[in-house]
């Protein structure tokens, strides 16, 4: 046992730590560096689903019924598979229309009905207050276990003023007021609170797993040894079996799974953390699997702890719900027990804090405000800032909710009502499912339908689940349980209309959901939705189909900025309203607030902002009171929708047109660039050609002038000069021929005389032609030719031209005297490949890309050769490409160069069938 002072001291130290975390979260948010803008924090905050009921209750349930604690967590697993669609839609709707609670969501969807909002709030309060009481009870009983001698009944203080649970409740109320209702924010987001909740989720998981590891590996040798021992005891062995000796209760299993599936989305605290506090829709992508993983981990050791406790203490000796504390205590691990208690405390406080915020928002916006705004003092015609009043109401609501929870806990004590309240609360919030889901996916649902469904579902819930649980606690005469209401047997609450064979919870869930869905659908189909219902249905169901600018605004009438601005100021604060209007003006592109057009969009903007602060129903009433509205009928709604879709179609069309224009512009720009570069290339060509022409011309002219001016030049000298002139003239004509050739090929006027070509013979002839040149330069030419080469269909003269060009290039670059040139021919089924390899200086990487480009050979180039024209390789490439082949160059400086080309046989075959004088494209 631990001293009371220590436990209380640690508990309050933990609460202080929570304050610090929340304060840090708020501080970082104010600096614009949010710590909750992470998918992991988002997933952890969703784990507020695991309350003290999970933390202590799962072990209790496992100890009495084996794996039956699991459906409560398998349901969320299944719900999360659809969360990417369903919850994301809820987030989008809530963010777009500033919806901050479930009550507001349902009310807003069905025409902003205050009645509906009030009803949802009432159901929530009735369903949730006992659940809060359960958390306080968990803290109290945990405290009692820690501070009483082990095995003895825990003594709880009888007087309320000496009950530490009350002070825990008050501390939680304080925390919730500070971090949940400190200032008015029209999005109702609380960064610090979310940070604290995520922190609590980590604490409870670590604490639970620590005890689990202790039991599995400390108290027992291993989980295997633990289960071996459990299997030796008949009662425990039965718990671990499938049917536990009876037929498996499939209906109950299904009912529990379905219930948990709905609860994980529709519990007010889940809605708060999943939808309202969501920072970024994309965080959902991580959370949909991380959250179920969290649930799996926190449940991993439930069975070992339950079995371990039952084995260690023996059945019935100790309350299984406290095993997590009593097992470490029994071994003297007081610190671990205290840590486990802090884990339970975090599970309980997390739930209480978020639930209190969510419920207080509902109570303030959907119960108190509508009543208050009817009073002359606060109503539409009144003036004065109401932000302080709003905050005051919320804080008071938080305090009252927590005190109600405490009161319920104090009165109910150990009664049955408290033990089973977790599932009873789940069944209450499951009643929201038809109206919520129907509202998101079905446009036909009406306000009357939703009201009927909720009322019927709630009534069945009260009659078949809530009242029996109160009767079993002895608070009511339980006569109606056994004999039916007024003695009518088929009205028995746990066997309604004589339906038996189901457990209480499944029975109640079946009847309440059946009545709920039946009422909702039946009454909705009774008559067509009104204009307001239709307009809201369109906004909700089609929320993903419209971009912000293209949403239809279902409002008509006359408004004045001078009336709307003060209205916003009353509920949001004058400064904030001024800022919002200025921002709106900037977005609209007008000079100042006075110039804002007071049209439907402005009215909608103000109404949306007010919705965040006081709920959609009250916002509707307030806005309607300061503008002159013309009522909408169904035709108006359809007309507005039509206009919006037309606008959307126009804007879509416009977007497409501008896109195609953009495309055309890009294409034109590209074409222009290409033309420009071609133009530049032509200029380069002209300059290089003229340069090449000028060199021989200069020498011809110089030598001719020498001979003209010098009459006494001797014959030998004259002969030598004339020889040079002839050589230069030949070079000139060769150059001119090549330029002409190039131009012809490029223009497609070249003539091709295709015939069957034996490549081996062709190469041998070409090398014979060059042999003299090679001998003169002292370069060795070696041939490596495949023996049997299939004939090709090509122009023999042109191919010879290519080969000669390659051979003469190689001869020029190979070192004089020691040059080695290899000419090789390889034949394959695809075609033939010819390569010419020299052992010259090689070509650097950057030059390699240029050698096949005509006109690139300009002076300054390392490979600039006065003897060549710089057109040989480009012409060769044109020829090879004409036959469908390609040319390449492999070289690195100092390693020589390999020029080669490939001629495909297939392309040649095709060529054979086509005209022989096909112009080159």
């Amino acid at each position: 046992m631990l001293s009371a002072t220590l436990v209380i001291g640690v508990s309050f130290a933990y609460l202080l730590l929570l304050f610090a975390v929340a304060y840090f979260g708020d501080w970082r948010a104010a600096q614009g560096r949010s710590i909750i803008a992470s998918p992991w924090v988002y997933a952890l905050s969703m784990a507020v689903y695991c309350t003290a009921w999970t933390y202590f209750g799962s072990v209790g349930r496992a100890a009495s019924s084996g794996v039956w604690f699991l459906p409560i967590y398998l349901g969320p697993m299944l719900a999360m598979t659809l969360a990417w669609m369903v919850v994301r839609k809820m987030i989008r709707i809530a963010k777009t229309y500033r919806i901050t609670s479930i009550a507001d969501f349902i009310a807003s969807r069905y025409g902003k009905s205050p009645t509906l909002a009030g009803l949802v709030t009432l159901i929530t309060v009735v369903g949730i207050v006992p659940y809060i009481a359960l958390q306080l009870k968990a803290i109290a009983s945990g405290y009692a276990v820690l501070t009483s001698p082990l095995g003895q009944p825990a003594v709880q203080s009888a007087d309320w003023w000496s009950d530490s649970t009350l002070y825990v409740a008050l501390a939680l109320a304080g925390f919730t007021m500070v971090f949940g209702a400190r200032h008015l924010d029209s999005t109702e987001r609380h960064e610090g609170m979310v940070a604290a909740i995520a922190f609590e989720s980590v604490v409870k998981l670590v604490a639970f797993m620590a005890v689990g590891l202790f039991v599995s590996f400390g108290l027992f040798a291993s989980p295997v040894a633990l289960f071996e021992q459990a299997y030796a005891v008949d009662a425990l062995r039965k718990l671990l079996q499938f049917g536990q000796g009876q037929p498996f209760a499939y209906a109950q299993w299904l009912g529990l799974t379905l219930l948990a599936m709905l609860s994980v989305i529709f519990l007010p605290r889940q809605f708060q953390v999943m939808v309202v506090e969501n920072v970024d829709e994309q965080h959902l992508r991580r959370a949909v699997w991380a959250f179920p993983l969290y649930l799996l981990l926190i449940n991993l050791f439930v069975l070992p702890i339950a079995m371990g406790g039952l084995l260690y203490f023996g059945p019935g000796a100790m309350d299984p719900e406290t095993f997590i504390l009593s097992l470490p205590l029994s071994q003297g691990y007081n610190a671990l027990a205290l840590f486990a208690f802090v884990g339970g405390l975090s599970a309980a406080t997390g739930m209480v804090i978020v639930e209190a915020i969510a419920v207080s928002t509902m109570v303030c916006n959907d119960l108190v405000m509508p009543l208050l705004l009817r009073m002359r003092r606060f109503g539409a015609r009144a003036s004065g800032d109401l932000t302080g009043l709003l905050l005051g109401i919320r804080r008071l609501a938080i305090l009252i909710i927590l005190l109600l929870g405490y009161l319920y806990f104090h009165l109910a004590g150990e009664a049955y009502a408290l033990v089973s309240i977790g599932l009873i609360s789940f069944a209450a919030v499951a009643q929201f499912a038809p109206a919520m889901l129907g509202g998101m996916y079905w446009k036909g649902g009406t306000r009357h339908g939703a009201l009927t469904g909720l009322l019927l579902g709630f009534a069945f819930w009260v009659y078949t689940l809530m009242l029996p649980s109160l009767a079993k606690s002895g608070w009511l005469d339980d006569g109606f349980l056994h004999h039916g209401l007024w003695g009518v047997v088929w009205l028995k609450p746990e066997a309604f209309l004589g339906l038996t064979g189901l457990d209480n919870l499944t029975h109640s869930l079946f009847w309440s959901l059946l009545a709920n869905v039946g009422g909702y659908v039946g009454v909705s189909l009774w008559r067509a939705p009104s204009a307001r219902e239709t307009s809201q249905a369109l906004l909700f169901v089609d929320v993903f189909n419209r971009k912000a600018g293209a949403r239809p605004v279902f409002w008509q009438g006359r408004a004045k900025v001078s009336a709307l601005l003060p209205l916003a100021g009353r509920f949001l604060g004058a400064e904030q309203a001024q800022r919002l209007f200025a921002e709106y003006a900037r977005r609209e592109g007008v000079a100042s607030i006075e110039h804002i057009p007071a049209d439907a969009r402005l009215v909608q903007f103000v109404e949306t902002q007010l919705t965040g602060a006081i709920g959609s129903a009250s916002a509707r009433v307030m806005v309607a009171s300061v503008v002159e509205e013309e009522p909408l009928d169904l035709d108006d709604v359809m007309r507005i929708l039509d206009e919006a879709s037309q606008l959307r179609a126009y804007s879509h069309e416009l977007e497409e047109k501008s896109q195609s224009l953009e495309r055309a512009t890009t294409e034109l720009r590209e074409a222009n660039e290409k033309l420009k570069s071609l133009d530049r290339l032509k200029d380069d060509f002209m300059s290089s050609v003229t340069h090449e022409l000028r060199t021989p011309l200069t020498s011809i002219r110089a030598l001719s002038e020498l001979m003209r001016d010098d009459d006494h030049m001797d014959l030998a000298q004259r002969q030598q000069f004339l020889g040079i002139i002839v050589v230069e003239a030949e070079r000139l004509s060769r150059l001119v021929n090549q330029v002409l050739d190039m131009a012809k090929i490029e223009a497609g006027h070249a003539e091709w005389h295709n015939a069957v070509v034996d490549m081996r013979e062709l190469l041998e002839q070409a090398s014979a032609t060059m042999r003299e040149t090679y001998r003169e330069r002292g370069v060795a030419l070696q041939l490596q030719l495949s023996t049997a080469v299939q004939p090709l269909w090509a122009d023999a003269d042109r191919i010879t031209q290519v080969v000669l060009n390659l051979l003469s290039n190689a001869a020029k670059y190979a070192p004089r005297g020691s040059g080695q040139v290899h000419l090789s021919l390889k034949d394959s089924t695809d075609g033939i490949a010819v390569e010419v390899q020299d052992n010259g200086p090689g070509i650097s990487q950057e030059q390699q890309s240029m050698v096949f480009e005509k006109f690139r050979q300009v002076s300054g180039d390392d490979h600039y050769r006065p003897g060549g024209t710089g057109l040989g390789l480009p012409i060769s490439r044109q020829i090879v490409e004409h036959f469908g082949g390609h040319m390449w160059l492999h070289s690195s400086p100092g390693q020589g160069a390999v020029f080669g080309f490939f001629l495909p046989r297939q392309g040649v075959d095709a060529e054979r069938t086509a005209s022989t004088d096909q112009p080159l494209i």
């Binding site: 598979t81 990417w84 071996e228 671990l240």
Partner: protein, 76 residues
């Protein structure tokens, strides 16, 4: 109701989960034996659960290609 490949996969996974965790597939584990020293039925439930989480993670976090298609899809 749900368009887009990822949405359809998720719906399929949802129904697969229902099928695996309810009548009659649950009865597959109706054997009173120990698997590696641990009781079969709880192990099977946790196993199916872990499998669902793994598949769900793969579907929603899957490659960059599906990421961009998810951003542009309409979920209903």
């Amino acid at each position: 109701m749900f368009q887009g490949l990822v949405a359809q996969r998720l719906v399929a996974l949802f129904f697969a989960g229902w099928a695996l965790l309810n009548f009659p597939l649950l009865a597959l584990w109706d054997h009173d034996i120990l698997i590696g020293g641990l009781p079969l039925f709880p192990i099977a439930l946790f196993g199916v659960w872990a499998l669902l989480i793994a598949v769900l993670a793969c579907v929603v976090e899957g490659g960059a290609a599906s990421r961009s298609s998810m951003l542009h899809e309409r979920p209903d």
